[in-house]
Amino acid sequence: MRSPVLDPRQFDWTLAAFTATLAAHLLWLPPWFAAFLAGLLVARWLQRRVYARAWPVWIKLPLVGVVLTLVVFEFGNPFARQAGTAALIGLCTLKLIESERRRDGLLIMTVTLFLVSVQFLFNQGIGITLYMLLPTLLVFLALNEIAAPPGTRGGLASQIGSLGRELLLLLAVVLPLTLFLFVSVPRLSEPLWGTRENQWEARTGLSDTMSPGSITELLADDTPVMRVRFPDGPPARSSMYWRGPVLWRFDGTTWSRAYLGNPQMREGRVDGPQDGAADDLRYEVTAEPSDRRWMLTLDFVTGFPQGANRSLDGSLVRERPISSVYRFTARSHPDAPVPVERFASTQRRFGLELPPGLNPRSLRLAQSWRRELGDDPRALVERALRHIREGGFGYSLSPPPLVGAHRMDEFLFETRLGFCEHYAAAFVVLMRGAGVPARVVTGYLGGSYNRIGAYWVVRNSDAHAWAEVLVDGRGWVRVDPTSAIAPERIDQSGAFAGGDLGRDWEWLRSLRERVDAVQAWWNNHLVRFDHLHQQDFFSGLGIDTGDWKQLGVFIAGGLAGIGLLTAALFWLQRRRMPGDPALALYRQFLRRLRRQGLQPGASEGANDFGRRAAAALPALAQPIAEVVGAYEAARYGRIGDAGLPRLRTALAAFRNASNRKG
């Protein structure tokens, strides 16, 4: 039997639910791809209003090809998360184009629920999570419409009056059940199938290379990277350098990481977890998912958790990428240089490497300083900073592009306009030219304090790059050449680069703080609720999750409680029934006869009882017969409720007669 045709309302609800889901994916879908799909949906909607037919195969088939080609063209590997999701969204759109029957609608709605949950792989913010309630609700309303057989109305969607009660009742049961299940469903301590590094790509954030423009992109991005709490008070803002990847290699354009010729280094496995000294600065970081392994910490990190390693260049690296909100506690020795623990000669060699033959003018300048000042790193650093401070340099987030082969020469002697990535890079080139080992460090600087939540939030717009030079006997010492040209960049990070409106718009700033505090709360309590937190939660209730019996009792008890709640709600609703008016009148009649000692038997119908009563009370036989007849007619007869007046009259007559008799 063929499935019935979707009527226009069912189709519209289906389309609405799918479109609302598509809208949620706009956060990451390339706009032109989304626009293409939206165009198809609009065309389909208009077409179906005029002529309810599927699109012919000579349109559909090429469209499938186009969608898949676009996906591969945009994302490359069609099996990665983004490409796979984009392909699914595209094919679902095409399915809508040929959906004429109810089973197609049901299929699309089920896939839409899948797309709702896939969305959370991209973003788990509280705003988007609340929004996702809309597509979910729409899916169920569409299912409700589709479940209504042809010619009848779907209840929830079309009946506002009944909608209220039925929906409230549904939610009153569904919400506790959902939350209970959410808490009780056992979380996995280890994933069942793997999530390889770099499989999920292209979340904005620090990359492990620095090429022109890579930081500019970040500076325009306001999304939080992490939130930090300092239980013992924060350090000075000017020492909040959140350390990310350290870049050694320079090819004239791009800076990249180096593996110091040692397999351990490649693994990032240098130091295991450490506790740190008791008087070191303690802080608690809640990192947003970055799909990267960097754990951004202050220099010099001395205490860090299991699963993290401190690499030779002083950055903290996690064993697995941070794919969901991750909280850790760390300790740092503030502003301490990064010690050269091992491989000193390799580090020195890498710290002096320059691309051969490039930037001759810069090198000549650096060598002249060297001849002048000898090999004292401090004096050379001071000289370079003075050069930047006094050489007519300026700070700009949109400097003229550097295009030639000798880019550092171009920057240092011609444009003289740039921001942290230019200054850090140029400074390191100068230092290396002068014979001082140096390297670029990328990360974030500062953060903004949230007064509502009493934490610091670091955003992508706080991205920064600075330099480190090797000082014998001390280690790698931080030098921030940008501070020489724009000290306010250091003191008021965020406000300076990110286009923060906060300084002039106090209320907006305060609103933003509030919103962010809610997001932080959400991250801490919902997003981060994992295996360990579940154990904590249950042990807080006095339940040992290792003991299946205790856990079973808890789950059974919880479900029973929700069952009771459901039963109570339904019972209340049942009690409120108005009752059958004919039956109510008939009961009055029965009450009166009961006084005469007459009661219908268990299986005695109104007719039989009426005859018996008439026989027992011959004086009332006529009124009794009339009441019974009127009752039968009103309750079971064709006239239905139109028979009520006759029943009332008959009942009144019966009452009068029995009173007279009584």
Binding site: S117, T136, L170, V185, V527, P578, G640
Partner: protein, 332 residues
């Protein structure tokens, strides 16, 4: 043993399975037993299973939850569980969409054999909830109704009536997948309601038999019969009414019309109709009953087992038609 009311539809495998179940597990199917109206549905007689779509939905939910757990993605898990909870509670709602729903009456007027039986199933909520998208299935036909509380809603079917006698409707399947189509709940309504099917009234109509006036028929010369009071012979006419002379004149067999305007009474005698099989006699008598009523002529109905009247009027007509409908049929 001709039970005219049973359905003439050939039994396919599904019907056979049901018949077997009815015999073996009557308490499970409740199709077989006739019940007195009103029939109120309750949890003991409502069956519910996941629909095909429900199973597909469940598989998808399983995939979503497994993925959410694996990636430790709590938002996805939360939404997966929300959908699962909605689905689970919808099972209760599907059940409640039938629970405490009553079939209060099956209304049907008697019909003549060959005319469709119009059955109206009157449904009523026993509480204050509206029942949405309830489907009644009978003899392969479906009716979809929404039943608001406090009044009676009817679903009508027109079914072939078969032969004369008591027509007992097959069990009605009442089902719903409301609200989301994930579950399918159903029950059987097999009321003891039955409909009387009268014999088919004969066409073309035969004139009513005149009350026999023995003196006139035997004494008078049939020769001077006026041609206007003659009509064509039809099978079953008594031979003594044949106007032999007139027939000889015209070359066609003619019989005398027994219409006497003053005679307001007649006898409809089963035995008086000759040369016809039983059903056709009944059919002719049915026509006569209707014609006599229309003309307001008192009539006596004579059947082998009964004799009714002479009388005229609604009650007499109903009695007469009932007697004709049930002539020589077993049981009540």
């Amino acid at each position: 043993m001709a039970v005219a009311a049973s359905s003439a539809v050939p039994a396919n495998w599904r019907e056979r399975v049901w018949r077997w179940l009815d015999q073996r597990l009557p308490s499970l199917t409740r199709r077989h037993r006739h019940e007195r109206l009103p029939i109120t549905l309750d949890r003991r007689r409502i069956y519910i299973v996941p629909s095909g779509f429900g199973l597909f939905f469940g598989a998808m939910m399983f995939a979503i939850l497994a993925g959410a757990l694996n990636y430790n993605n709590n938002s996805a898990l939360l939404f997966g569980l929300l959908a699962v909870s909605l689905g689970a509670v919808s099972m209760l709602q599907t059940f409640r969409n039938l629970d405490r729903l009553s079939l209060v009456q099956v209304a049907a007027d008697p019909v003549h054999a060959g005319d469709p039986v119009h059955l109206a199933f009157h449904l009523r909520c026993e509480d204050a909830r509206t029942r949405f998208a309830v489907t009644l299935t009978l003899a392969g036909e479906q009716r979809h109704v929404e039943i608001a509380p406090g009044r009676t809603t009817e679903a009508s079917f027109a079914l072939p009536s078969g032969g004369r006698g008591w027509y007992t409707p097959a069990p009605v399947r009442i089902s719903t997948t409301w609200p989301f189509g994930l579950f399918h709940a159903w029950s059987w309504l097999h009321s003891d309601a039955r409909v009387l099917v009268y014999p088919r009234a004969e066409t073309p109509p035969q004139p009513l038999p005149r009350l026999p006036d023995p003196g006139r028929i035997s004494g008078a010369d049939p020769g001077d019969e006026d041609l206007r009071s003659l009509r064509d012979y039809q099978r079953g006419d008594p031979l003594r009414l044949v106007a032999w002379k007139a027939s000889a004149r015209t070359g066609e067999l003619l019989v005398r019309q027994l219409e006497a305007p003053q005679a307001r009474e007649t006898v409809l005698d089963f035995h008086h109709i000759e040369g016809l099989e039983v059903e056709r006699r009944l059919s002719r008598m049915t026509r006569w009953v209707l014609d006599a009523e229309r003309a307001g002529i008192r009539y006596r109905l004579l059947l082998p087992e009964t004799s009714l009247g002479p009388d005229v009027g609604v009650a007499h007509r109903l009695r007469a038609l009932k007697a004709l409908a049930l002539h020589a049929l077993p049981g009540p």
